[in-house]
Symmetry: D3
Amino acid sequence: MSNDALPISRFPVPELADMPADIREKILTVQEKAGFVPNVFLVLAHRPDEFRAFFAYHDALMLKETGNLTKADREMIVTATSAKNNCLYCVVAHGALLRIYAKNPLTADQIAVNHHKADITPRQKAMLDYAIKVCLDSQSITDADHAALRLHGFDDEDIWDIAAITAFFGLSNRMANVTSMRPNAEFYLMGRVPRG
Amino acid sequence: MSNDALPISRFPVPELADMPADIREKILTVQEKAGFVPNVFLVLAHRPDEFRAFFAYHDALMLKETGNLTKADREMIVTATSAKNNCLYCVVAHGALLRIYAKNPLTADQIAVNHHKADITPRQKAMLDYAIKVCLDSQSITDADHAALRLHGFDDEDIWDIAAITAFFGLSNRMANVTSMRPNAEFYLMGRVPRG
Amino acid sequence: MSNDALPISRFPVPELADMPADIREKILTVQEKAGFVPNVFLVLAHRPDEFRAFFAYHDALMLKETGNLTKADREMIVTATSAKNNCLYCVVAHGALLRIYAKNPLTADQIAVNHHKADITPRQKAMLDYAIKVCLDSQSITDADHAALRLHGFDDEDIWDIAAITAFFGLSNRMANVTSMRPNAEFYLMGRVPRG
Amino acid sequence: MSNDALPISRFPVPELADMPADIREKILTVQEKAGFVPNVFLVLAHRPDEFRAFFAYHDALMLKETGNLTKADREMIVTATSAKNNCLYCVVAHGALLRIYAKNPLTADQIAVNHHKADITPRQKAMLDYAIKVCLDSQSITDADHAALRLHGFDDEDIWDIAAITAFFGLSNRMANVTSMRPNAEFYLMGRVPRG
Amino acid sequence: MSNDALPISRFPVPELADMPADIREKILTVQEKAGFVPNVFLVLAHRPDEFRAFFAYHDALMLKETGNLTKADREMIVTATSAKNNCLYCVVAHGALLRIYAKNPLTADQIAVNHHKADITPRQKAMLDYAIKVCLDSQSITDADHAALRLHGFDDEDIWDIAAITAFFGLSNRMANVTSMRPNAEFYLMGRVPRG
Amino acid sequence: MSNDALPISRFPVPELADMPADIREKILTVQEKAGFVPNVFLVLAHRPDEFRAFFAYHDALMLKETGNLTKADREMIVTATSAKNNCLYCVVAHGALLRIYAKNPLTADQIAVNHHKADITPRQKAMLDYAIKVCLDSQSITDADHAALRLHGFDDEDIWDIAAITAFFGLSNRMANVTSMRPNAEFYLMGRVPRG
């Protein structure tokens, strides 16, 4: 059986033709840019209003032009916390983005397994320590956690960004785990081999 | 010291006058309806784009007119899972809404402490068992969990709703814990005493 | 169905008339003072010898006139640790007493959900940190934990009190969870509204 | 340094001569019977009222003549749950009593390390499974747990006994861990060698 | 900085020339076969006697010609349990072998993140459920766990194999985590792209 | 029923006569020295190649003549970590060796229950803290853990020894739990009574 025949969701997945125009439009734009449609777009299109809110939230955090987090930093947060939530879709898809933005074919696997062993800076380790605490034990966050981040040059807006990205992908991880959202096969190899 | 003098967020909270018009409008509408502005509106207004996505997502799940979850069912899910995340704001604010929708002054405290001991139906207990699994261990959700819910009359759309509400408030809980979002004093007493 | 019709214990509950005289006497005294009989008295009366030892222990710790713990401090310890043990009876009943002794309608709910977010002093937070460690991980208590409490002005007798209250209510929590001890409806509202 | 020189408590231990008469009397009786004074009597004598309540509770549960739990069953519960709480005093002291009552020099060590591997009956394993659940996760006890015990011939009074012994020694374990209560050297060898 | 400059161990790594002849021989053989020397050989060569025992054990389990576990099954067990132990070296190196033996570029990443979502058979899922229980909670293994495996066609020798592979790589994972053993860059891409 | 009639393994145990000569030889030597054959030799003889690797590894770590760990230190590590893995065989057998090497009848039981309460040196407590971290959470080992050990006079080779002993007995614990390896009755009393 070809992997392509496997379901991408436990729930119904609408045909592109049956989607509201704005959603179809967004999906076609993504497809043009990426060369394929990441399954999260198809799976969440089952619920148009939630789809719109989800991607509005996503874009507000991940496409934000201000602040001191690089795109690689943000994907690192997503990869590390999605691994703690054992979310296959997000580790595979955002690991791919992390390899591309970090221009490093090793970082994503390192961070998914054990960020203490990754080839990243002490500043990035502090960022991931905090993100993982927000992910797993947000009730225990205190001022001391924020003070530790400031020592690494993060300001309050950066701290909000780290926390909000973690919180948003915690939502995403749970939806992916519940829907059994299947990562596109394309993601697994992205960013691993130099583009010739 | 009056409690009113205590900060409602670790982060800056904008003045109503300084907010974008659509956000100010939404807040004034809520104030008119509730008699006060729940602090979550003020705290999240620090980030207008995230504010808009957050409430669009919230409304898509909590104001939805279709499906078999009552408003009390939904607030029950929020209260039970927010308690597992030790989120003071959500337990207090949504516990208040639960008391009102369930027309029962005891249910919210029961569910916040131990849903096994609450005066709710076996169907509601199954719903909360599932929500708590999505909250704490979504990686282990299998078809068997969904089959168990169907035995209680939940259909697939209801299951998505339970999971999505849990996932969304997992985001909310983490933002509230990180911002130290303070519940308005008004919530603590709402729904506890009969309106004369 | 009225809540009053719901059972208060998984085990037999004796009639007042069938209890030994000293136990009936104690219960009538409590009833006179409180205006109702807290269910813990009725549920534990099933075992008169254990009842006597339980309340002797309780009174030795909670009615003690010496030491530096206020009555509110003690009820705070009970509320915080009972929440960790997910004991509905104790969180509801002792949360009520905490509201009364602390003369604050918000403290009990705050402490039951997340004591880090409560409107209490750093000394009280240190006291609750220690109590929660005794509750959840007493094997790891070392001299360093006691030194930390002394920095907040607690002496050795106070430390014994904090530990003993936690240990005693750990017993109480387990009995309440096993018996499914039902909190009286009266407790839920006590201390929430100013006495006119 | 002789072990006898090591402190038996982090807290002051009164001299026999300074204790209230009833407590001194109880201790002398124990000494006569056992040949030595178990340190729990000396350590808790620091607080006479708590001492009296503690031993009244202890005797009500452990010296009870009715019900279907043998003395070995009761000491087994104490040993198994005290091991989960990592309480050195209770594992050593009650392991000694278990060896004596079970007339088996191996059972106590087996149960302290892993009750699944112990030379005990399926009925005793069910009893310990339940006791360990009361010890570690009492909030999740449901009617199904009690039904499982009834299948092994335990009645409701036996179930109360198992739970109450577990709950009481949970208190005892926490006090022993907090006071650093030192087991008497005599206990380690008791019941290991046949009396000639 | 080239990744190749990064240390492969927290401990001294001997030069090939300084190793005992049998160890050097083994390493040169591996190098010839694989095209590079996996770092585990270099890191463990610091302790020749342990090196010899380690690889004798490894080979007894992983090169064994009898039984019903395929080479892919065995690497699956290593990958799944090493992920639970957050061992970067073993997830990366054995994930590579798994891709090769399973002739599937996706399986290793799926199993490392969440074996419930992997494209494997129910028999393989049962095998991994058991291996993960041996890895994380071996004290609770009972006859029922073995009966469940027999239903999937595993015999007792297969069960020993699953358990022994898990136990051996538990040792390996701990040594890799303690030494900060660095996976060779070659492993990350192995088995991901078809050999042209 | 005599305990001697109880099975020592869930798997087949070969007769001495049927074992390969080198294994039989090793077992007879042990028997001569100890006066009995520890069951681990018989249980593992089911797999001759694994038996040879297991004891080669064991001897490399436990019979090593160099380094700063005494024989008592090594058995302490085994006893403490085997207790965390709830391995009956290793706690009982290595607890016996610990009593003998430490010439102290109390240490083994103390360490098996709670090493914080044992009559050992601060250096030994630091050693056990580290071993337990390797046993339960090796992913979180950082340079800081090693620095803490060096403050107590351990050098890098000692640190490797502590880690390797822990890792090796983690393997052993899992095999003993899976095979239900029964400790010989002789171990329980060894080292408890002075040899006359």
